[in-house]
Amino acid sequence: MKISVQIEDFDLGREVTELRAHQPQIGAVASFVGLVRDINDGSTVAAMSLEHYPAMTEKALRDIAAEAAQRWQIIDATIIHRIGDLYPTDQIVLVAVASMHRHDAFAACEFIMDFLKTSAPFWKKELTPQGARWVDARETDETATQRWTKPSKR
């Protein structure tokens, strides 16, 4: 399990290659990349600053990944979240999950993203023409998390 909170950018292709290395039982890799959009809530975004709670962040991500590993058959996972100053089209977050079969990889990847959005201590501040503003949490993110409280069934 690779968990990293970093200022530097990441390379999706290289991360997935490393996740898969020497694991010929892997049949499926689902991955997600979150990006800085140039427009959010109707305003042009010139830049974004990501603050976090250093002592808690990695632990929170590790707990989310461990919970996903309890719920689905996963072989390995990678979570990378960037901090610091980011600009439109920059990569913010990567979640990649390897498993034998695709349903586990998809479900675990989406689960990790949903919980990261509501329980990993990151905060975004956007620079817009109207000034700097802290991004508000979205209610849809809470809703997305809550749908996982029931066991996932096909």
Binding site: E51, Y53, S119, P121
Partner: protein
Amino acid sequence: MHIKVLYFARLREQFGVSEEIVELPDGAVMVAMLLDVLRARGGVWAEQLAAGQAYRVAVNQELADQVAPIEAGDEVAIFPPVTGG
């Protein structure tokens, strides 16, 4: 007893402090009691930590609710709902 309290993001800016040591009565204490002490400062503290305001509390780096116990040496963090990802 002394509790280390951290603030992040919007709350850090509004309180104008990122970290402080708060003095609480010794013994069994809950998160709610720390919040009462902070609200008693009035102004932006009373306002931002009022019932109905959206904020989160972590005790020793784990999300916690109002009845979670805290003891000497614990690290408590108070912050807005998270917005990463």
